[in-house]
């Protein structure tokens, strides 16, 4: 079996920052595994500006931000990148099995950093009653479809949840000529950044319904409409407040969940409610020598914070490899 000092799982901003920091701290043999065919993770589909204000003191798009790290990774001889590599197994003593086209590889690592990111909460997790037609997308999937593929999902959209991805996508769809009829938020205030509410909704005249929820999705084959109602402080529907919005597209943007299924498989403690690692300190897990960083550790608002903390994870792994703690 192949032996490695450090294996980093995930080649988004967190994994790249962690691998680079570990390399800078003296780790000589780093394997960076990425599922997709390129590094950068979700940044690649975030073509809007606003990244890097803290880190680089300038405003970059997601792909530009990722590219700065991709270039550094390429220049770092201690980091080997394996793309289209999907980890299927991780054990508590840091044996890793991963699939890539043409091979099942097995690696024994001395230390592991999990930078596996997060997934979107789905319609099913809220849950929204009604039918299950075509036209309901997690906001991040819609972002990928429009920005990466040029696929416009529909004509008229309603967005559930005012998280940043939902707000960004409201603007994006408006720019692509879709009619964005409303953003529906169950809380009393938006969950997204203030600047996003102003720049993505107000500037485009898209109404934000606070303290409202979708009580039903209707449509046999494709979404036809949603039924919306105001809610009280306990998030229960207020009688007599229902109204309908016709639409063919519903985007769900109701939060993110860290992806820690590998960590769980390895036997580390994972909080059942938040799906975050249970540990005394950020970036650590309940298994010695195994670290978690970026959105897998906790869900961040800004990629600059992901980078900052993930670099610490890289340094922690380097220290563990040197001193065994």
């Amino acid at each position: 079996m192949n032996e490695r000092e450090l294996v980093v799982v995930g080649g988004g901003p967190a994994g790249m920052a962690a691998a680079l920091a570990a390399g800078a701290a003296g780790v000589k043999d780093i394997l960076l595994l990425e599922r997709d065919q390129h590094l950068g993770g979700i940044l690649n589909q975030c073509i809007h500006p606003g990244f890097g204000l803290h880190r680089f003191k300038e405003e970059l798009t997601g792909p530009e931000y990722a590219d700065r790290f991709v270039k550094q990774v390429a220049k770092t001889p201690s980091i080997e990148v394996s793309l289209r590599s999907f980890v299927v197994k991780l054990t508590s003593n840091m044996k890793i099995s991963y699939l890539r086209p043409g091979a099942l590889e097995e690696v024994q690592a001395k230390s592991v950093i999990l930078a596996t990111g997060c997934r979107e909460r789905t319609r099913e997790m809220i849950p929204i009653p009604g039918t299950r037609p075509s036209g309901i997308y997690p906001a991040g999937l819609a972002q990928k479809m429009i920005n990466m593929e040029g696929w416009i999902p529909g004509k008229e959209a309603v967005i559930v949840g005012s998280g940043d991805i939902g707000l960004i996508m409201a603007r994006r769809m408006a720019l692509e000529g879709m009619k964005v009829k409303a953003v529906i938020e169950i809380q009393k205030q938006s969950r997204g950044l203030v600047r996003n509410v102003a720049q993505c909704l107000d500037d485009y005249g898209i109404p934000l319904y606070l303290s409202h929820k979708i009580v039903r999705i209707e449509g046999a084959d494709r979404v036809e409409k949603v039924v919306v109602a105001a809610v009280d402080d306990a998030f229960c529907e207020k009688p007599g407040t229902r109204f309908e919005l016709s639409c063919d597209t519903v985007l769900i943007s109701v939060g993110l969940i860290p992806e820690n299924e590998l960590l769980e498989m390895a036997g580390a403690r994972v909080d059942r409610k938040t799906n975050t690692p249970v540990a005394a300190e950020v970036n650590r897990t309940s298994i010695r020598g195994m670290f978690a960083c970026g959105n897998a550790c906790k869900v961040y608002d800004l990629v600059d914070s992901v980078t900052r903390d993930s670099e610490k994870a890289g340094q922690m792994a380097a220290q563990f490899l040197k001193e065994g703690k």
Binding site: V88, L99, R119, E124, M125, L141, G150, I152, G154, D221
Partner: protein, 490 residues
């Protein structure tokens, strides 16, 4: 008037036409494909199993809780045996997990005894009443309130849609013609010749000697087209909630409460794919398209399941759906209509219809034979089908061998359920034409992220395999397109 005989449209002629490619129609088609016959299977949806069958729980019932004199009871027990042979022949994953019918009160043990005796009359074997000590050992997550249970070992689980796909695929291999997106628009009775019916579907006409109605929720409508109107389908809605695969081992058996007059109650269902399921509700509805889930349904299902297994949490739920049981009175309706010679109704096939399907199929073929259909066995009937590979159900060592033979087994498309590009392409080659068809066959998009990560990749593979534009790709057939417009670069 056609002056040139060559230009006259010929009408396809068949020995038997089956309306409906759900599990009932598919099982009948496969059974008929053993004989030298021209058989046509018509399905109104874009793919088989898209009606009642797709919402089936996947339980292979032992046969308990049916009256010993009923068709349901008899065919369920017979089907439970036959399904083992069929799943071995077709390579469908069947697991005999056993069933527990639990009671909360010692006084209800008498009811378990009654169910046991009725079951024994039907020929169900090895049932026993088990107590707390047994339950604590073999089903440790059951709540402390549970007093006893009836253990029925012969109950099992199967993937309902993969059973339909595999039955259909095998039937087609043996000569059955399958036409999807073919809704029956009308049936004309013919007189004089050997062909007694002319069926119109998707703008074409098909003549047949025998017509078998396995139209599920619409069986009464199809029957009415030939004038048999003495039954009505009353859809009974059931909402089901799927739990995360991480909870796979929450239960070791199918766990049932005591049944009510209209349903078997809220169950904890192991599934052959690993995700446990809780449900179903049971509510009569007039609307044959009412597939909406409700807040009340969710609350009822959660309460019912948590009463038996308190550690089930709302946050465990990753998916939900509603299905409609095509109820037509208490029992199945399986009969040749003497007023319409050649017409066989197979209606009201609700629970335990999946289990009974192979037995229903042999019964229907017997009825056809008894009414004049000549059955000449084919010498070259292909009874076996090569098992579909699913990485999620094989060990890594096997996966390694597969990747060595075909590198695309190592190209993972669906990360939550570990489905490779090879499996997606294979599903398309075996007939998947929609996103749901791929999901049901492979489990891609069926996991906790609901296709958030893999949808675009699957759509690209579909384009490559089928030469479709992205706007033509649908979730489950015409009208359910996913993309309105592709911005093409000049």
């Amino acid at each position: 008037m056609y002056y040139n005989y060559e230009l006259m449209p010929t009408i396809e002629k068949h020995d038997a036409i089956i309306v409906g490619a759900g599990v009932t129609g598919a099982a009948i088609a496969r059974e008929l494909s053993k004989y030298k016959l021209r058989v046509l299977l018509l399905e109104k949806e874009a793919e088989p199993a898209f009606g009642v069958s797709k919402s089936n729980s996947g339980i292979i019932h032992a046969g308990t809780q049916n009256h010993p004199d009923s068709l349901k009871g008899r065919l369920c027990v017979a089907g439970n045996k036959l399904i083992r042979e069929i799943s071995a022949e077709l390579g469908v994953h069947f697991v005999e997990v056993g069933q527990l019918i639990v009671v909360f009160d010692e006084t209800d043990v008498a009811e378990l005894d009654r169910i046991k005796h009725e079951g024994e009359e039907l020929g169900i074997k090895d049932m026993q009443i088990v107590r707390r000590d047994w339950l604590s050992l073999y089903e440790p997550n059951l709540g402390p309130e549970i007093a006893a249970a009836l253990y029925v070992p012969s109950a099992g689980i199967i993937s309902p849609y993969r059973l339909v796909y595999d039955l259909t695929e095998n039937a087609v291999k043996n000569g059955v013609v399958l036409k999807t997106s073919h809704r029956v628009a009308g049936i004309r009775r013919l007189s004089g010749g050997p062909y007694r019916f002319e069926v119109e579907a998707a703008g074409s006409k098909y003549q047949t000697r025998f017509l078998i109605n396995a139209a599920g929720l619409f069986a009464d409508k199809v029957s009415a087209m030939v004038g048999v109107t003495d039954f009505k389908i009353t859809p009974r809605k059931g909402e089901e909630y799927l739990l995360d695969k991480k909870r796979e081992h929450i239960a070791n058996h199918l766990v049932f409460p005591l049944p009510t007059p209209t349903s078997k109650g809220i169950l904890i269902i192991k599934t052959s794919d690993g995700n446990p399921m809780i449900g179903p509700t049971a509510r009569d509805t007039e609307d044959r398209n009412d597939l909406a889930t409700t807040e009340e349904g969710l609350n009822e299902v959660l309460a019912g399941a948590r009463r038996m297994m308190p550690s089930i949490e709302r946050g465990d739920i990753i998916a939900y759906f509603a299905g409609l049981r095509p109820a037509a009175g208490k029992d199945f309706i399986i009969r040749h209509e003497t007023t319409v010679p050649g017409f066989v109704n197979v209606a009201g096939i609700q629970s335990p219809g999946l289990t009974a399907a192979p037995a229903i199929a042999t019964m229907v073929v017997g009825i056809l034979h008894g009414n004049g259909l000549v059955l000449t066995p084919k010498k070259n009937f292909h009874s076996k089908r090569e098992k579909t590979t699913h990485l999620f159900e094989i060990p890594l060592s096997k996966t390694r061998e597969l990747i060595q033979k075909d590198p695309s087994y190592g190209d993972i498309v669906c990360r939550c359920e570990m489905v490779s590009a090879k499996e997606i392409r294979e599903a398309i080659r075996r007939g998947a034409r929609t996103m749901d068809g791929i999901k049901f066959r492979t489990r891609a998009q069926a996991g906790r992220c609901h296709g958030g990560f893999c949808t675009t990749r699957i759509m690209k593979i579909m384009q490559e395999e089928l030469g479709m534009t992205v706007e033509e790709i649908t979730k489950r057939g015409e009208g359910s397109e996913l993309v309105r417009e592709e911005r093409r670069h000049e």
